[in-house]
Point group: none
Chain length 206, copies 4
DNA sequence: TCTTAATCGAGACGGTACGTCCTGTCTTGTG
DNA sequence: CACAAGACAGGACGTACCGTCTCGATTAAGA
């Protein structure tokens, strides 16, 4: 966890109790993964964390914000960036596979679903989620593509490529369908080898 | 709406009031789009529909199920199938563009976000959502691909192709990012022309 | 039970089902004595009696009326009249003792309490209760007193005497206090021997 | 009202809002006397008192307990004790007359009926009612009798005497019959002059 | 070192909605 | 036509949380 520094936005407020803050985030995380988003309540967090409700309301404006903060308070969540070997296609494919594995795991899928739901009615949460979650993921992959020699995709095309890969994974997770890393890898490879899916895969196998 | 016959699954229960059923679905739809999912309450629906709460609880086990039923009770929701000209790539691209337009519209996006959130804690809802929403969309596109002469994608590859296109759109909607039809079209074309994105688009423009 | 003739007020309505009527009164009685007045519901009676709710509402205007009818539908409830030996004091004392025993029993006390509560908000029930329950009790004792040679109580005084005896018993029952027959007997004797309580009892013992 | 100090039994619970407590008791009283016990609802009290329902449920376990507390929260309810002139018979007769007047009044009768009904299913309420209502009434009269020189009634006989007087009044109130003070006075005098009703009353008039 | 003001735990408060139970009315076959 | 069955509009139940509001009791500056 990157708990110690997760609110450095504008100099952590004076005299805030670190003990309380950690207990709240930990309790929130546990309760979200134990009971799901529907059952999640501020009172439940306060009770589990051994904290007064006011202490939560003092620092988090909204249930949804607390949910987002609690779920995002983990830096082990996703592989942010592709590796940097010479082979763009291989690097991005590897990244796609890792991302699928991370978000396809039980915990990763649950987290993604709850984050998505928390952001539904709330563009503010959505912004924060993008800033700390989807943004870094996109940026890592985009940077890898941007720096690739011999790849002539323009900016819009690079975004489409990356979002298609992420989208495949996200869609399957949200649809409660199985997420196979190999599918994400196949998609990445197909999008980057300059050929449609049908041929490169053929080639790979044959 | 296909309200009149939307639940003929196994002989509508005994002497259920059609009047009440329609009023409930209509009220739920209105309230969802007026106030969003957070503010949505069974009591609100009952009041707006002029119906007792028990009448809702009698037929819908859960808030989430009602949300799903209400939102899905519209057959104008999405373009289910691609056209059937001779050109697969063109047909699927057209379908992708239409889908992006439908889900990218304010109402479509709101519906998609609320459906997703409603399904978060609830695989049962997810199943229903797939059955009536994502399933038909996938199937339409898959069928078009399956019947295409000269296309050598196997079943898994066809699914990847379709889900990447849907995923791109869904991801952007849920991330509160702009959904351009042209992006979906570009992705479809790139996946189906046997070339990477970089070339065909080049060619199209140049 | 005097069930067969308990509604002869104005020629039992045409085509009324005797089976249903009896089942309802029996079920109501059972439920009242099993669960008490608070838990008593029309639906409960309908279910236990194997009867539609409408059948109850068709013949009983109100929950309270049904309660009264059900509880009063027993002629074993109380000893209506004193015996008629030559000795007024002895006869009335015997009656008082019997009444105390009847209303002091668990079942009698429960019945009395529930009847009283049912009549609280409802003078109509109160009237019916008097007509079928307290009235006959009072009348029997009043008649015995009225016909007694050598007793010079006027009508108002006879009512006071009788109501004091009934009142002692009723008060103790409603106060959840023990009701001893001997107390009722002592009161009756005291009121009728022309002496205060202190002497005749003294005399009796000494 | 003795509202300010009516619950000092064992140190009023922590930081209970006196404002809310008073508003609740006042609202309950008003609603009981306006609409009767049948119509009485916790929600109605909460609304009238400007209070959340939970605040009522936090301090009163049951509708019946609230009814009892509200109705008993008045020390003007009844004349607790007989006067103390030298003449027992006169003192107790005066007390009996006052009691009949108090309980025979519209408000007194309504209160008595509602208290009785509230205690029907609930020995706990009955106990509280006795402790704060019937108990003090009995005790006052019993004490007057106990201290009377020349009166040789034993303890049981004193209770019978007192309960007969109270019982006469209570019975008539609950039976929705007229309660004349003169009747209570006559009974008291008859029971205490060492003579039956027939003579002393004769003597009084003649 | 002492003061003092913000933060803490606790939890009562006015509210809203929950999901259940029951009311009294109604509608639909059955006998 | 009364009946068993049970859906209906409505309303109260008792519970769970919401977000706000006191209360002392820490507790970490700054005087």
């Amino acid at each position: 966890m990157n708990t110690a520094a997760s609110l450095p936005e504008d100099a952590r407020p004076r005299r805030r109790s670190e003990r309380a803050r950690l207990a709240i985030l930990r309790a929130a995380n546990e309760l979200l993964h134990e009971n799901g988003l529907d059952q999640f309540s501020i009172e439940g967090v306060a009770a589990r964390a051994g904290v007064g409700k006011q202490t939560i309301y003092r620092w988090w404006p909204t249930r949804a914000v607390l949910v987002a903060d609690a779920l995002l308070d983990r830096d082990d969540l996703v592989p942010t960036s592709p590796p940097q070997t010479g082979d763009v296609s291989a690097d991005v494919s590897a990244w796609a596979g890792d991302l699928a594995a991370a978000l396809g795991s039980a915990r990763g899928a649950a987290t993604l679903r709850m984050l998505t739901a928390a952001a539904t009615d709330n563009p503010e949460i959505s912004r924060k989620l993008h800033e700390k979650f989807s943004g870094p993921i996109q940026d890592g992959a985009l940077a890898r593509l941007a720096g690739a020699p011999g790849l002539t995709l323009d900016s819009a095309e690079r975004r489409i490529t990356v979002d298609a890969i992420i989208g495949l994974i996200v869609f399957r997770v949200l649809a409660h369908q199985e997420v196979r890393s190999s599918d994400a890898v196949a998609l990445a490879r197909g999008l980057l080898t300059g050929l449609s899916l049908e041929d490169p895969l053929r080639a790979t196998r044959g």
